[in-house]
């Protein structure tokens, strides 16, 4: 019997689309990362690892890694933890659950570029809501704290303009914006936990909320947690709009908020250094790919029930 080739025809459209819109661009970017190509040029030169070498050795790119990793390491634990906490609290109240859900989810829905204006105003060094509120504490017992005493004597921090504060402020906004999304994912995860497991835990003698959480809730949320952590990681690596909104001139005070996405944008688009931009993109891709592989590994190994 001749082997039918119909199966190839069946998968052909999907394979074609995958290659055309996913694989090919990656290959093109990988190739370009070894060149000095600029958009509009007719030709380009092969520069081998020079682009990568610049990324590893130049101080502005070292700042890029510092800023990106700081952002990820602050935002991921906080956004995941707060998301879980909010989901558990909302799940435990019998009334107003929907109100809280809406409030916490609002920052997710709001366009961050628009919200940046509000934050810029709130964080303004002299007329901003935050520093004005802090100034009210001057002259009271709060001055026992060194931070307050200095703030009252001189001035409270320039939240967005001080290189010691800028990345933390941007991270804070990232948490504020992101944890509502995680909360929704956790709420969905919580509803899928069978009620009978809690009853079994109660019969088995789990009296405190912590015991129930350890025995049932946290392990049963395992798959949700892996997903939430991965998605938050990737989103944190991708942070761009906050930085672009606050520091369109590039990277914030002393490039302390020079995150990866902004570097790609600045080099590849603004300065038309396509080769360099592609090299950063490849590094970014490797980070994300690594995260995804770790997630796959965790899902297969530890949290796969049924």
């Amino acid at each position: 019997m001749p082997r039918s080739r119909a199966h190839i025809l069946f998968v052909a459209p999907a394979i074609f689309l995958m290659i055309a819109i996913l694989i090919l661009p990656i290959i093109v970017a990988a190739t370009l990362s070894f060149t000095d190509y600029s958009l509009g040029n007719d030709s380009f030169n092969w520069v081998a690892w020079k682009n990568y070498d610049r990324i590893v050795s130049r101080s502005s790119f070292q700042k890029m890694f510092t800023a990106t990793l700081t952002y990820v390491l602050v935002v991921v634990p906080l956004a995941v933890g707060l998301g879980l906490g909010a989901a558990l609290l909302i799940n435990s109240v019998s009334r107003f659950g929907d109100v809280y859900k809406t409030i916490y989810f609002l920052p997710v829905m709001a366009a961050l570029l628009a919200m940046a204006i509000v934050w810029e105003f709130t964080l303004h060094p002299s007329v901003g809501l935050i520093n004005q509120t802090l100034a009210r504490g001057c002259g009271t017992w709060l001055e026992w704290f060194a931070f307050f005493r200095q703030g009252c004597e001189r001035t409270f921090p320039l939240w967005l303009g001080d290189r010691d504060y800028a990345i933390w402020t941007v991270s804070f906004i990232g948490v504020w914006q992101g944890f509502g999304f995680n909360m929704v994912l956790y709420l969905a995860g919580l509803t899928s936990i069978p009620r009978e497991l809690y009853h079994a835990a109660e019969m088995d003698g789990a009296k405190s909320g912590w015991e129930r959480f350890r025995l049932v809730t946290w392990p049963m949320l395992g798959p949700t947690t892996v997903f939430v952590v991965t998605i938050t990681c990737i989103r944190s690596f991708q942070v761009f709009d906050t930085v672009e909104a606050f520091y369109p001139q590039g990277g914030g005070p002393s490039k302390s908020v020079y995150v990866m996405m902004f570097a790609i944008f600045e080099k590849g688009i603004q300065q038309n250094l396509i080769g360099l931009g592609s090299a950063i993109t490849m590094i970014f891709l490797i980070f994300v790919l690594g995260l995804t592989l770790i997630q796959r590994w965790l899902v297969e190994r530890r949290v796969h029930y049924s």
């Binding site: 009978e196 079994a200 109660e202 019969m203 003698g205 009296k207 049963m220 029930y305």
Partner: protein, 383 residues
């Protein structure tokens, strides 16, 4: 040592009253089954005993101790759930260890490494208990597997094991066999009854399957509409039901409930036949006569006291043959010997006679009516 006592337990969900004042005395070491159709409140009652649900009114006493305000974790009962409710991330052994760890070990003693260092003896004791229980249930080889890797029957045993490891006052079982296939269910029935005999602990077993109730229990409580209609040993419930609903619920195939007419002297006419025993003339009028399929006998000829009709369907179970007979306004099921009835086909006319002394009469409200031998009835009326 006393068992579990329920006193006027009521429960409503919103406007719907699901338990209407349940009184129940469960003896120590007894296998008591709560049986009834879905929605009769049997599971709710079990959960109230367990403490997972609060009763609207009434008292629960366990071993003479009122437990109304006592939470489930402190009632020292064990429960086997319909879905087994095993912790999917833990192995069978870890699942079985949970009730012991939570009760016997302090907070720090449960820590992975430190726990073993500061309370090694306790951990060894727990491991020994698990081993013993696993041997009783023959699940030793399964101890290192996770619930996802077990078959339905094995999960069932693991859930039983988790309930058994600490010696509870009573086992509560909420339809534990309903997720198993038919053959395994029959097998587990015998095994559970044996386990109960060996352990000697009180079992409270909820089921909607009358066969489980009949085969395993010491006593069964037939529940309907939030009330216990009859509480008695299985044989008594089957042979002497107090209510038409009980008679209809217990027994397979169902009892034949035939419309009948009680004359003013108490004689009962049912589908052309007249019963020898009579009912109190006070109940004259429309009544229902209950005849179990095995209490009808096929006779070759139409005669006095026979009920006749056409065979519309035959069910051959091998050991028994059930004939569905159309007797005019309704249908009746007759049990026949498969050999004797082998020539009967659908459409044939058959005649059946009720075995003397076995018919049951139920009044218009469903309550059982007492039947008397004819002579005595007349004397009673005269007197």
């Amino acid at each position: 040592m006393a068992g579990i006592r329920l006193n006027k337990i009521t429960k409503s969900f919103g406007d719907v009253s699901v338990l209407k004042g349940i009184d129940l005395d469960i003896r120590d070491g007894e296998f008591l089954t709560l049986v009834g159709p879905s929605g009769c409140g049997k599971s709710t009652l079990l959960r109230i005993i367990a403490g997972l649900e609060h009763q609207g009114g009434g008292d629960v006493h366990i071993e003479d101790r009122p437990v109304n305000g006592v939470r489930a974790a402190e009632r020292n009962l064990a429960m086997v759930f319909q879905s087994y409710a095993l912790y999917p991330h833990l192995t069978v052994a870890q699942n079985m260890a949970v009730p012991l760890r939570l009760r016997e070990l302090g907070f720090f003693e449960r820590f992975p490494l430190i726990g073993r260092m500061i309370a090694g003896a306790k951990h060894a004791e727990i491991a020994r208990h698990i081993k013993e229980t696993a041997d009783v249930l023959q699940i030793g080889p399964l101890l290192d597997r996770k619930p996802g890797q077990l078959s339905g029957g094995q999960r069932q045993r693991a859930a039983l094991g988790r309930a058994m490891v600490r010696k509870p006052v009573a086992f509560l079982m909420d339809e534990p066999l309903s997720n198993l296939d038919a053959a395994l269910r029959v097998h587990m029935r015998a095994e559970l009854a044996e386990l109960h005999r060996d352990l000697g602990v009180t079992f409270i077993y909820v089921t909607h399957d009358q066969a489980e109730a009949l085969t395993m229990s010491d006593r069964m409580a037939v529940m309907m509409g939030g009330e216990i209609l009859q509480l008695a040993p299985p044989a008594k419930v089957y042979d002497d039901p107090k209510d038409l609903q009980v008679a209809q619920f217990i027994g397979s195939p169902k009892i034949n409930a035939l419309e009948a007419e009680a004359a003013s002297d108490g004689t009962i006419h049912v589908s052309g036949a007249t019963l020898t025993r009579r009912v109190d003339p006070a109940h004259a009028g429309r009544i229902t006569v209950g005849l179990r399929p095995e209490h009808l006998q096929l006779v070759p000829e139409f005669g006095e006291g026979t009920i006749s009709g056409n065979v519309v369907h035959r069910e051959n179970l091998g050991s028994d043959l059930f004939l569905h007979v159309d007797i005019g306004s309704q249908r009746m099921v007759v049990r026949a010997d498969p050999l004797a009835a082998s020539t009967l086909r659908t459409g044939d006319t058959v005649h059946a006679i009720p075995l003397p002394g076995r018919a049951m009469a139920f009044g218009a409200d469903g309550a059982r009516l007492h039947l008397q031998e004819p002579v005595e009835t007349r004397q009673a009326v005269v007197a």
